[in-house]
């Protein structure tokens, strides 16, 4: 579905006039309708990568907040210029930070919050609030408001319409604007808060926006791994719903591994796992740890110890020992591997190897390889005597906006139980 613009050019208003303007909009201009009885979506749209690329002249504007191929190509080229490793993912926050050191003072129109992915607008959000922090920390607060009717007029009337509110300014100004934002979030409708930026920034803003039972959506590949995992655990422990796009992107890996063990004749092998090896791109371990934790939780393993492991120049890995339900040990290793063309997000999966050894029958070795990567490291190591099951895991090809649209289309007011079980264990796995 193509991205859509708002129905009208947003109106710039002084922040204090926003509530009364919206009141007038609904009582007069939209036929006294209540608007779509759907949800509020609040987005923290950092877009630091895009802003920095524009500033240093490596990207033409406007700034939209959408991660398209043009932005990604510019990011990959910039990584080389900044002397970062080839395997630096475009969305790695350290890339935006490194580009920030490059010279340049270019500007472009900032349209964040005004481009709405069609898949999201199809769900008729009642209110879309975008907080767009600027590179200029001292930038004063600007507010923009517009009506938004994503559906054709047939049969829906004002009940399909919503409004868009954009708050743009330095992080400090946005922090102060939270008093303005909170009353705009209806308590009668579900509220999703999408933190579309690193989890390291503005934690107090996130905590305020995602308070109570608001449904927080984050990406645990963006930010310090410890902080990311702790955030997941804190929300889960507090009973506050959280969704993780990094976890959702593991969908095809979970499915591929489950498929290997669908034939009942292979089920018993799951009770005899002795070794689990994961390879991930770059140094961000979160995604791999979430996958390992999911598997451990599903098979009832108990974590005994975890420790750093020296890699072969690609960074530090993670080792751990688990105890199976029958008391036997499972050895776990997760290693960073360099790649020529990294995926968009840090820490993408490259490969998985699972070795199962029961007292009867030949051992089973399962190898899953990313569609775009090689598994030579995992394929080596003398497995000729084992039954080999090798699968290629298809690459997910959905943007963040599409993933978000999928969450909005049938979301829950609670955390997915699989994530709720895996995240705490993943946090413990991180040395």
């Amino acid at each position: 579905m193509s991205t859509q613009l708002t129905l009208q050019a947003p109106l710039a208003l002084p922040p204090a006039e926003v509530p009364s303007y919206l009141e007038r909009l609904w009582s007069q201009e939209l036929g006294s309708s209540h608007g779509a009885a759907t949800f509020t979506l609040v987005v923290w749209e950092g877009s630091w990568l895009e802003q920095q690329l524009v500033r240093c002249g490596r990207l033409n504007g406007p700034i939209t907040g959408l991660l398209n191929e043009t932005v990604l190509e510019a990011a990959r080229a910039a990584a080389i210029s900044c002397g970062l490793p080839l395997s630096t993912a475009p969305m790695d926050p350290q890339l935006a930070w490194a580009i920030g050191k490059l010279g340049g003072d270019h500007h472009a129109e900032d349209l964040r919050g005004q481009f709405v992915e069609g898949a999201i607008s199809a769900h008729m959000p009642r209110r879309l609030i975008t907080l767009a922090p600027t590179l200029d920390g001292g930038h004063p607060l600007e507010t923009l408001v517009a009506a938004y009717c994503p559906l054709p007029e047939e049969g829906s009337g004002g009940d399909a319409c919503g409004d868009v509110v954009v708050l743009r300014g330095g992080t400090g100004a946005l922090r102060q604007s939270l008093e303005l934002v909170q009353p705009l979030i209806s308590p009668d409708l579900p509220c999703w808060v999408w933190w579309n930026s690193s989890l390291d920034e503005a934690p107090e803003v996130m905590a305020t926006l995602a308070s109570g039972h608001r449904r927080l959506v984050v990406d645990s590949s963006l930010g310090d791994p410890r902080r990311c995992l702790d955030l997941l655990v804190d929300r889960i422990d507090a009973g506050q719903p959280i969704n993780d796009l990094n976890w959702l992107r593991l969908r095809s890996w979970r499915e591929s591994l489950a498929m290997v063990f669908d034939p009942p004749s292979r089920r018993d092998a799951l009770n005899h796992v002795v070794q689990l090896d994961l390879d991930v791109e770059g140094s961000n371990p979160v995604k791999g740890l979430l996958l390992a934790a999911w598997l451990a939780d599903r098979l009832g393993w108990h974590l005994i110890s975890t420790y750093p492991v020296d890699g072969d120049g690609a960074g530090q890995g993670i080792g751990a020992e688990f105890e199976r339900t029958d008391g036997e040990t499972v050895r776990f290793r997760q290693m960073p591997v360099p790649v020529g063309v990294p995926k968009t997000h840090p820490g993408a999966m490259v490969g998985l190897r699972l070795i199962c050894q029961s007292s009867q029958g030949s051992p089973l070795c399962v190898i899953l390889c990313s569609e775009s990567g090689g598994c030579m490291r995992l394929e080596s190591g003398g497995m000729a005597s084992m039954e080999l099951a090798e699968e290629v895991v298809p690459l997910p090809n959905e943007s963040e906006e599409m993933e978000m649209a999928r969450l909005l289309s049938g979301g829950h007011d609670s955390t997915n139980p699989l994530l709720a079980a895996a995240a705490p264990l993943a946090a413990k796995l991180l040395p």
């Binding site: 009885a37 769900h123 049969g155 009940d159 009942p264 089920r267 799951l270 599903r298 997915n416």
Partner: protein, 507 residues
Amino acid sequence: MGSVLTNPLRVGLRQERVIPPQCLVIFGASGDLTHRKLIPALFELFRQRRLPSEFAVLGCARRPWSDEEFRQKMAEAMASEVAEHRMAWEQFAAGLFYEPVDLQDPPTVVRLGQRLDMLDRQRATRGNRTFYLSVSPNFYGSGCRALAAAGLLSDPARSRVVIEKPFGRDYGSAQELNRVVQASAQENQIFRIDHYLGKETVQNILVLRFANTIFEPIWNRNYISSVQITAAETVGVEERAGYYESSGALRDMVQNHLTQMLALTTMEAPGRFDPESMRNEKAKVLQAARLANEDEPWKCCVRGQYGPGGSSTRPIAGYRQEPGVNPESTTETYVAMKLFINNWRWQGVPFYLRTGKRLPKRLSEVVLTFREAPVHLFDAASGAPTPNQLILRIQPDEGAEFKFEVKAPGSGMRSRPVDMAFSYDDSFGEPSDEGYVRLLADAMLGDPTLYTRSDEVEAAWRLYTPLLELIEDAPNQLPVYPYEARTWGPGAADSLLAEDGLAWRRP
């Protein structure tokens, strides 16, 4: 499918499409189907986390129940599931509501609209509504009219109506009902159920045919000599005598389930896998289907009725002895017939359909028998070479089997038949959703692929019209032959194939 241990990695992992927020309105909510099938299916979807948090079920019927009474009655009907999943049930039941509605009484339908608006705001269901008509077939038309008159079907993107079978009693009534329903809503808002389409194995007919290269080139008159489609039940009429007496096997099973299996087996490949393309092809092939002898339809159809059977220690009552059945009843509990499909792909290939109650086994299958080799080079160990057969087992022991000849061990070159088998249990070991779970999910998703379209329904009725008219006007020409319960039907059904030098497959 058989019961097997669940794959622990598969738990919670269903790659299913997400059902959007909506209100499911069930008319006839005080009836049997709701507490036996619909609410259990919805509860299963809820436990699988396939229902969003923004979801509501509004039960409607004439009885003056409250929300709480409705929840209580559903809990009582599902006592064992509720006891096993108490917490989940309490969360699920919080989304169950009730509104007394009489579809024949417009003010109550207007009140329904107001209640739905309130629920929309209360549960944030986004104005999405699915109306499920679990009512007597006599009220399908008037029910749709009432909903349309109250403006509840005016938004084609956010409202749909699900109609149970039977859709009409014959071609004329089906056409009339279609006219009424289509005057109330657009075709893409109308979901006519056929329960067989909800079965994994019925859907597998399509995947087998169109996801593999090897079958399509031989899936035609040049290679296939005949096709048998069987839906056999071991049970009798049970508690459905009231409905069955006026229906019979032809209306109850042949017009819908067997005809859908026929359509999926014989249709052309659609250009793409979208609902309309699929249904276009099904309608086309049904429009080309004909009774083998339309001028003398009694020559290509056999009707039967089960009589007493079983053993002295476990006797089985005959149909006429069943509670609620007229002791002089001439309703058929068994039908066998021969059809042709007059198109390039199937011209001249006989299709034999049979269905019956109180047969020896419960099974549904599609059996494609291939033409014999043009020259028999080898002696067959069994005397004569067995034709190749592809057997699609719909239920039980879901899967497929291919029979072909191989060399028998030993000196000499004799052939004997062997089976190459695929079993869902052995390959996946994962119990698939019970039919209503899948059908409800698809209706709430607005995916009509597993539902029948108006032209398909009318084509299916038109196909059997000569038989229905004969039964109505000259039943003596299509007599009901008795058969002993737990046998494979009347001998006359065997003669139907014997005339062509064939025999029914004995599964």
